[in-house]
Every structure is written in C-alpha cells, then in structure tokens.
C-alpha cells in the first residue's frame, strides 16, 4: 500500500528541512521516494496547514523495571484518581504519575511519541525491564544497562584489571541485558551505601574498594568509546539534589578528559549555595561548561509542579531524600551486589522556594545551552514530572510570555534568584524537532529512525499548527508507527508492537570464565541462567530485536 502525506510543513532536522512544504510517501512501513512514472496512491492524507515531524523519541524515561513497579505498587491512591477504561481496541489500566504499561504506550503515542528508552536497566533486573517494556504497545523501546556499583566491576578496579578486560565485561553485560547504552548512577555510591557511607564525592573513595567515582566514570566512558557504542556513557552523577553540587558537575565534566559523556537530569545536579536559603541556581555555569565542551550532552530532568513519584537507582541519595517524601512513604532496596533503588513520592509545589527554583533552574538550562543537538527534553519521567506534561514543557520553552506568566506565580524569593525573566530565547519548531527527534536518534545511535528521508521507518507525527504550543503538542492529528496509522486526533485508533533496540558489542569469550567462577561463588544464580536469550524477547510473537551498528563498523 502506498500512502501519501500531502502538503504538510515538514520539520526534519536530520535532512536539513526546516518547515518546507513537501509530500511524504510511505510503503511497507518505510518512507520511500516519490515513485517514478505512473503510480497509484492507495491512501492520501491532506496535510495543508499541518506540521509534520518524525515520531518523537524519549531518550530517558523510566518505563520498565523493578523500581517503577515498586512505585506503582506504592501509590494506589494516585492510580485511583486516573482510571483508564478498556475500549474495543485498548486495554484498561491506570495513569498519572507511574502509568500501567499499556497506558504508557497509549499516552506516549497520543502525544506523538513512537519510542522510549529506559535509562536504568539493572543487569539482574533486566528481564523485568524487558518484560514490562514488552507490554508497552506501539512504542519502540530499549534500555541503558546500569553499571558502576556492581561488585564485579569494583573488584576489577581494585585488582587494577586493564581497560581491555573492563571493555569485555561491559560488552558482555550489554549483551546479557539486551542494552543499547551504558548508564552509571552515583558511581560507586550505590555500593558505598551498602557499606554505610551516606555521601560520596567525586574524589571520595568507596570505603571497601578504595575506588573513586571519578575513576569509575573514566573507565566506563573509555569502555563505551572503545567498544564503539554510539550512545555516550549515560551519567547520573554524584550528589544528586545536594546544594552546591554544581561544582561536582563541573568537576565531572572536566574530569572526563574529553571523552563522550551524557549527563542526565542535569537540573538535579545544578545547585549552588548562595542566597538567604543557601540554595541557588548553577544553571548559567553548567550551561557555559556544556557549551564549551563539545563532548558533553545533557538532558534536563525538568520538574513541573504537582504530585509525582521519584524512582531511582540511587539508593544513597534517595535514602537521604526520604525526608521530603510526600505522601510520607518510601522504599529503598539494596540489590544483588549489582545495584540498588529508591522510590520516594514527591509533590513539587510552586510556593515552595526550593521546588520553585528547581523549576526555574531546569528552564534556565534549556534556554542557556546553545546547541539543541546536545540537549534533550526530559522530565526524567516520573521523577521531575510524568511524561504527560511534555506539551506544557514545550510551551514553556516556545512561548516567553507564557513562561513569564507562570514565573510570576512561583515563590517570590525563587523569582528573585533566577535570571529566567530576562532570557528572551524561544525555542523554534525545528529546535523542538531536534531535541525530541533527530538529536535523540543520533545520540542513541538509532539507524533509520528520527528522520523523514527515504529509507527511514515511517514513524511520523502530524500536528495542527497552533500558537498555543501546549494544545498543539498534546493532540496530534495523526501518528504513524512503522507506516501504520495508530493515532487520530490524539486518540489511539489502532495498536501494534514496537521493536527493542539493542547493540551487540563483541567481547572475548574468556570473560565468561571468570564470571562463571564469580557467579558460582558469590551470586545466587548460575551465569547461564543470568544471561537473557534472544528468545525471551521474541518468543511471544510480539517482540523483536533491532540490532544497531557499532561506530566504525560497516552498517
């Protein structure tokens, strides 16, 4: 079947197209060139006055894995306020802060998103992450495997194993967990918490291993680079949420020595200690460092006001943050000599000085970083706010007067502590398309996604241009996934299953020998039972794996 999308204004940064009117042809799930000679269009959509982008990609969203399910279980009252009934074509579930898997897929698709990436896949919990993501309809998905507090790596560092050995272990772990990237959370700090350390600075040693976060970041960033993984090491740094942590973040940027590194939810790591409340914005300094260091990419982790729940691998910082739990219930876990997690419900309030300034810091960061290819639109769902708030966030970025109206309502002391009112920048549609599509696909290393040129998969979102950008982005006219129409007027009309994106870096098989000994002695399962097989993703007939090339390899 040949589909033609006719006459829309196309925003396709990957092809350098910035709002030109242009037709798009779809056949067999992919975008194709206009056929030559006589041809018959089977289905045409008249897109005059519409805006066309590729499907949006959320490069950091907690949509799969144990901590998310703990968050769900913890908050029945939040679900009760947002029940989702079944229809003839969709399953029932619940929404708001941590939606059920099916509802996650529907609501993302209904906002024009066609892919989401879980940023904290614990190797030992990777099965669960993939099983949950397998129950998210429509979206493509993938995960970054969490390393850096796993005892095996820390033992390697203490034993001064060489970089090659570490590369092999990282590659093995990525393959075992079916990952497309590597994440580190509070490097070495999750382990340190198990030894009763309650904070860990960049150059502070894990009390048992004598290893510092700086060393862990270096070896992992090097491994990612040397293995040819496109997605740079994905870093949730030290001292999350601690006033003054902007210095840690600046140090982290300097300390990586030019290696590619992605600093995630940087808003939570951009705090100074100035002012009467000893809490201030570090956004300007952080943005300056990001602008200067081209090896650095960031996503923001914007907070938006209201109830949500924070779910993180950072058991150390989440334990410290439990004092802010609202409602007052929270969970931490130490997990399998592998990682940990902490789940703390939060209610961000515009009349609370700290929350109000956090909101402003996130927006300052968005507006002060020059290059939209190196900054990504996230709320660190659900930690800063549920993903359903993205259209509101886009309006804040694109509409200065709206932004200033909201700014005028927040805690007055916070207003005094932010430069936001003086920042004139408004994001363009093309810049939004870069942050949420082309840039994300490039950052993750997704082949044939995030662009509208021939050969790409037909993941396409069509909006009606509207000066109210929130209205525009919360209700696309059409969403196509792999060429199939899945959403009309912001409602799911058809469902399908997306693929799981992975990379398969090579490793020397000898790494499994040492691992086997380690598993037999210290772990609770056999190495053979730990590794996730391809079958586990594909055997139910819905899932599939899409393997992306490594850098330097021939596609």
């Amino acid at each position: 079947m040949l589909i033609r999308l006719t006459g829309g204004a196309v925003y396709d940064p990957a092809s350098g197209i910035d709002g030109a009117k242009q037709d798009i042809y779809i056949q067999d799930g992919r975008i194709v060139d206009k056929p030559v000679g006589d041809f018959k269009v089977d289905k045409e959509y008249d897109l005059k006055g519409k805006v066309v982008m590729s499907g949006a990609i959320d490069m950091h969203t907690h949509i799969g894995g144990g901590k998310g399910n703990i968050a769900r279980t913890l908050l029945p009252e939040d679900h009760r306020a947002d029940p989702v009934a079944r229809t003839d074509i969709t399953r029932s579930g619940c929404g708001h802060a941590m939606p059920s898997t099916f509802v996650t897929g529907y609501r993302y698709a209904e906002m024009g998103y066609t892919a989401g990436f879980e940023p904290a896949v614990l190797p030992i919990n990777a099965r669960q992450a993939h099983m949950e993501m397998a129950d998210i309809p429509i979206l493509d998905k993938g995960g970054y495997v969490l390393m850096g507090s796993d005892d095996y790596l820390l033992r390697m560092l203490t034993a001064k194993k060489d970089q090659k050995a570490i590369n092999d272990y990282v590659a093995f772990t990525m393959q075992s967990a079916k990952a497309i990237g590597v994440k580190v959370v509070n490097p070495g700090g999750i382990s340190a918490f198990k030894f009763n350390q309650r904070k860990l600075d960049l150059d502070e040693q894990n009390s048992h291993y004598g290893v510092t976060p700086r060393e862990i970041l270096r070896v992992l960033a090097t491994a990612v680079k040397e293995l040819g993984i496109t997605h740079p090491l994905h870093v949730h740094g030290c001292n999350l949420g601690v006033p003054g942590n902007m210095n840690t973040t600046l140090d982290t940027i300097q300390g990586i020595g030019g290696l590619p590194m992605h600093l995630t939810h940087i808003q939570f790591h951009s705090y100074g200690t100035e002012g009467d409340f000893k809490f201030s914005s570090g956004a300007a300094a952080i943005a300056e460092a990001v602008n200067k260091n081209k090896n650095i990419t960031i996503d923001v982790g914007q907070i938006l006001f209201g109830q949500t729940v924070t779910a993180s691998g950072d058991n150390m910082r989440q334990h410290a943050n439990h004092k802010h739990a609202s409602p007052n219930k929270w969970v931490t876990m130490d997990i399998e000599c592998d990682a940990g997690c902490g789940v703390v419900p939060f209610k961000y309030k515009d009349k609370n000085f700290v929350n109000a300034l956090q909101w402003a810091i996130g927006l300052e960061t968005f507006l002060l970083v020059d290059d939209p290819w190196r900054i990504f639109l996230t709320t660190d769902h659900p930690n800063g706010a549920p993903f359903t708030s993205y259209p509101h966030l886009i309006r804040l970025l694109m509409d200065r007067s709206f932004r200033n109206d909201v700014l005028a309502t927040i805690h007055p002391e916070a207003q005094k502590m932010t430069t936001l009112a003086s920042i004139e920048r408004e994001y363009s549609l093309q810049e939004i398309a870069i942050m949420t599509r082309a840039g994300a696909a490039r950052l993750i290393g997704l082949q044939d996604r995030g662009a509208l040129s021939a050969g790409n998969w037909a993941d396409i979102t069509v909006y009606t241009d509207n000066a109210d950008r929130q209205k525009m982005f919360e209700k696309p006219d059409y969403v196509f996934k792999d060429g199939e129409l899945v959403v009309v007027d912001g409602k799911v009309v058809h469902t399908k299953w997306g693929t799981t994106h992975v990379v398969k870096p090579n490793f020397d098989a000898s790494v499994e020998k040492d691992l086997q000994k380690y598993f037999d002695r210290f772990m609770t399962m056999k190495l053979g039972n730990f590794t996730i097989s391809d079958d586990e993703i594909t055997e139910d007939g819905r899932g599939s794996l899409t393997v992306h090339p490594l850098k330097g390899s021939v596609a």
């Binding site: 144990g66 029940p83 009934a85 029932s92 129950d135 969970v331 876990m333 399962m525 053979g528 039972n529």
Partner: protein, 420 residues
Amino acid sequence: MAEITEVPSPFCGIGTDDLTIQVDGVSLKVVKNGCAVNTPAFEQAITDTRPRVDGKDVSLDEAVAKAAALLKNTNQPVIGGCATDVNGMRALLALADRSGAVVDNMNFTGARNNFLALQDSGWMNTTLAEVKNRCDLLLVVGADLESFSPRFFERYLWNEASMFLADTGKREVIYLGKAPSGTASTSPSGQKALVFECANDDLPDVVAVLRALVKGNPIRVDSVGGIAVADLQGIADKLLAASYSVVTWAAGALAYSQAELTVQTISEMVKDINNRNTRSSGLPLGGKEGDQTANQVCGWTTGYPARTRFSSGFPEYDPYLNDTNTLLANGEADALVWVQAFNSKAVPPATNLPTIVVGRSGMTFDQEPDVFIPVGTPGIDHAGHAYRMDNVVAIRLKKLRDSGLPSTSDVLNAIEQACR
C-alpha cells in the same frame, strides 16, 4: 534419557537454579540438589492429559469453547489461584480485562500484610545475593525459615565464600517468635541460633518493644509475651552493632488479625536502625507458586497488586473486598475460574457456581468442575519466567520435557479469543 543441569525452580521461592534432573520420556528425577519442596514438585507424574467438560474427555477446542460460553454471560466472574508464570499472568489479565473479572492471587491474604505496610509507610529491603555476601546477623521473626525453604541456610548463609565476611560461619542467627523445626540454622561449626519463642498473638507486642529498644526508648515492664525485656535488649544491641543485619518474616505466617501492623513495625524498625549509623534491611519471604509473579505482572498491567477487579471496565484494587472467598461467600460472583499450574493439591474453593479449572495435571476434585483443562507446569513442560521471593530477580524457567500439555497462556489466550 537426558540429564539437564542448572535447572531453576519456581517452587521454593528462593530461586535455586542448580538442580540436576534426569528426564526419561515424561518422567523426571531430581538427581542433584533436590529438597523436600522441590523434589516432589518436579517429580510428580502427569496423570490427566485430556481436558474434560462435565467430567467427559473432550478436545482442547471444545473445552475452550465451553469455558468461553460459561464466561460470556457473566457479570462478575472471579479468577482465583493466579498461580502461573509471567506469560500465564499476562493472558489471565487479558481475559479478566475482557470479561470484567476479579483477579485474586490465592496467597494474597497473607501477602496483604506486606502490601498494606508497604502502601502505608514503605520499607528498606534487600535481596538474596546481599544476604549471601553481607548479612552478619539474621533475625527471623515469626517464621520457620527452613520448612519454608529447606535450602535457604545452605545457599545464602553457610555458603563457603562471601565477598565481605571473612568467615560466614560467624554469622549470627536469632529466631523471635517461632523456633526452628530443624537444625539448618546451626552454623557449620556448630553455633546454634538464639531462639526466643512466643505465641504468634504476642508478636505484635514483642516486635513493638524490640523497636522501642532499638530507638532507645525506655520500657517499663520486665517481660513481654513471655520474653524477658533484657533478652530483647540483647537483640536490639546486636542489631545496632551489626554491620548489615537482615530481618526476615513471612507475611503468611503472621496469621492473626491486623498483622500488617507487625510488618509495619518490623519495617519501621529497620528504618530506625539505618538512622543509628549502621545498615539493616528487611527480607520478606514469599515467591512460591507464582505469588510474586502474579503481583508483579498485575502491578505493571494495572498499577495494583493481584487482588483487583475489572468489573467497572477499569482496574479497581481492594485488598479485602476482592477476596475470592469473600466474593463466593457473599454471592457476589457468578463464575469461578481457577488457575493453578504449579500445585495440583491447591484445588478451587467449594462453590456451586459454574467453575472452570486450568490446573496442573493430577488435580482431583470433590466436585467435578464444569470445565477442567490440565496444563503444563512452567519450568517443566514449557519455558517461562517466575519471580523469586526478593521480587527483583525473575528466573528463566526451562522446558524439561515434551508432554504435549498446553501452557496456561495458550489456554487462557484461547478462551479470551473465544470470548470476543
């Protein structure tokens, strides 16, 4: 005859995956690393292979059609048992969503003690590898750990090597409430567990006093539940002196009214210890016959644990009202579907309602259900996934033999299709 090694077990809850099993046609023999729980569960013979309708052998298609016909005109069927693997639960929830059923895991009344505590105040918990490598003091509250899982001590406490303990034999074990039924908790060098027994009903008081002592609050009595306060002070001192204590309990063993408050007191005590400059973690026991699996899959599919109804068209959780037994007793259900792929002895509750049983081969009934469809056991007859007690690790279950029995998900998916 084939021999399969590194076989994981869905039966014991602690995720043993070192069994060696001999397969001869469809008969299995555990030849290595069996235990009182796992060996009989694996070795149980297949008896029924044919579905039955009204007691007569029929084809699978006929049984599925009859099941769908029975469900079609119901207003509020109950799907009980819910003892199967991840794919089985996925299919079960799809059927429940379509038929407006109540989903209720058979162990939920026990597990409720944990869920109510979790949903009210939360906890700090750990997993088995942390126990194996870090735990220097294990406090067992109100449970007989070795009858729950016979190999717990061998695998996770008296393991030879540990990353962070010089000598695992020096770990301390304390029982509070129940005494151990055997000697598994005695260390290899002969060090016996400390045991402080009390009646189950006294556990709330005993645990409350222990928490108060951990916090350094004064206690004005000399004994509680027959245990000297001085002994409880001894336990509190050990908890505060340990580097990484672990407190374990079995929610189902706390079989008294409002036992969730005991779980909450234990969990809050663990938090208190973590505020006294050392580490401690909780470790709820469970994970048998798919109970964690049911709650996990129901959790991501609906947002709620596995005592949830779909009769309004969307999931509604109620840990009391959605109890199978309550619904049957009050005449609020109009059909019963019983799903139990692990344990042929776990039969459905007695009822006069139309009953469909999707059960492990070998189930026998006082009253023949309208439809009985024998299914394969996950981890024996087909591959699958099941959660361990620590709720983080999903084990990959293996297919050991070709029995021809359908899986739970095959059957429930077929019924769901037929209900359309």
